[in-house]
Amino acid sequence: MPQYALDIRDVTKRFASHLAVSNLSLQVPAGSVYGLLGPNGAGKTTTIRMILNVIAPDAGSIAVLGQSVRDSTVLDRVGYLPEERGLYRKMQVRRLLRFLGELKGIPPRVADPRITEWMERLSLKTPEKDWGLSKLDELSRGMQQKVQFIGTLLHDPDLVILDEPFSGLDPINAQALKDTIVELKRRGKTVIFSTHLMDNAERMCDAVCIIARGEKVLDGTMAQVKSAGGDRTIALALAGSAGNGVTAILADRALVSRADDHDKYYEIELAPNADAQVLLRRLVDAGASITRFERVTPSLHQIFLQRVGAHGIEEGMSGHG
């Protein structure tokens, strides 16, 4: 096993008039769960498509599992879950899964027992009902997502790439997905997923890369990324709703460069050269009843807003999905 499951060096991709990915380099350690984070239109899907050799980069090189992606055999060891679910609606589920297996070089006789195992595990096959014999469009949306997921993992890939896997999942399926990602990591597989849901990424990823406007903003292990957020973040909690006085203080740009307002809870980024003691004093003077005032490591969400915001993303885009 090479050190990196994915090694992207100086990759650039330009479409007609706009630069989709610019000089991007990133390394994903083998056996890790890696988050590719960025707002919509940041270049995540383009990057993933280049990793899968669906489109070719204009410059730079991409190695997957130690092999260049130009050598298409390596793709048989990669599993890919696209952002928008893609399956033949009129096909019988089992035949469809066999076909997806064959596309990855797994003959039907090898695929069949695996399909059965997965379908039983995800309760698509129960003693009462075998959905494998139904056509895909007879299945509910949630079941179709499960089928797609089985298709992604059927050939037991070493590298799994999930493009926005959590979008549109109900809590039960989202939990099943998290469990599966954890299990894949335990079995030594590498999982890369793109998302703009920072909470998921923060809980699951060993390392992340934040990209915006096609450029890398920040990458590294979760600890590195967090420490890059600095120690200028303060968690503030109030007993009641904030009065006008508190709101005015938090709007003071000499003191606070950003405040993430959750009404009774704030994540505050101190302005450069501002003193936390001064902020605390002014809040007390304003009559705020403080239940918590603490220096914290910023959340990934906060870092994302801070870095991507500073990088100047398009108006109206935030880290919230």
Binding site: V54, Y88, K90, M91
Partner: protein, 427 residues
Amino acid sequence: MAKFWAVFKREYLERVRTKWFIIGTFVFPLLFAGLMFGQAVLSNKAIRGARVSNIQILDVGTGRFADEVRARIAGPAGAPESIPIVRVAPNEQAAAESLAVEAVKSRRLQGYLVLDTAAVSGSRARYAARDASSVGITELIERAIEGVVLRQRLEREGLDSRKLEDLMRVNLSLKTDRVTDRGVGGAGRASMVLAIVIVVVLYMTLILFGSSILMSVVEEKTTRVSEVIAASVKAELLLAGKVLGVASVALTQQAVWLASAVTLYFTRGPILAKFGVGSATPIPMPDVSFGVGVLFFAIFIFGFTFYACLFAAAGATVNSTQDAQAAAGPVTMMIVVAFMFAQPVFLAPDSALAVALSWIPFTSPVILPLRLALTELSLLEKIGSVLMLMVSTGVAVWFSAKIYRVGMLMYGKRPSFRELGRWIAQA
């Protein structure tokens, strides 16, 4: 290669499993056989059943003429007495006729025939009945009257009518032969039938299976399957598997049709005999040598691939089934234009126009087989035009693959022709 088979197999099996394929492939020949036998049996019955009974002859002063007509209508084995003759004077004709009409209305009579001096002169007679449009009966009556008129005329000239009828009985059948470089062989009309069959089957195949490819590409785009597949196989491979898979479906269907046609050809006589149809009209077999058969096959494969790739490329440029038909417009137009030329070529398969059309890529898949069936092509023409078709198919595949490769992952507004050019350049 295994992946190509996976795509090929899926395209083939998923289509062959549809009920439309099963209906088209198996029910169509059954329907055709049913029509053929049914028509033969029914027309046989109709001819034999065309007997005139229960009619009345209104004789308006013709005398013996009416008796003779009656005898001829009844036939040599029939009973002339079953056809009553009502003899009336000209001034009673209207009254007698209204009585006859009443009889027909109340179904006591099938119909009535009015014979007057005009009938004797051989110019005009009148038959009124519920089934007055029945060709069998009217023809029988017409022939009976004509026979009597002719006999009377001949007699007036002093000739023996019975002898003359014998002399005039000639039943010639014209056999048409097709002259080729190899000599005389095959049946000319059979070649024409073959040509028509080829044109119809080719047209249906190109339009139906072509749009089937178009829709499947659009479906893969709208359901985003294309993205999953693109992450596993090359676009060119997917396109090849799709086109050849669908071509095989078309070939399967045509093989079944051909097999049923051959079976029908050999079993037609015995089956018809069972229905009591003695001698079925013989169907001449077209003269197709093995070499020409191979050429047909090659032209079909390359011609189909040519158009199938264009349909696939057209499908790759759109995102919805609504837009698909519009995108297919130019390709469909090409096919329709090619088939519009089929008629002039059919009438003059060796004309300069026909020769020129055999060399043009988008018309040659239609015109070439037509001409092969109708006339003899020089070796240079055969090889040259087929090579030309192969080369242009290669070019079409190359262009389509590029458009397809870019288009299958492209969403958004339909590209202009200029943008298509850019797609081809960048892929």
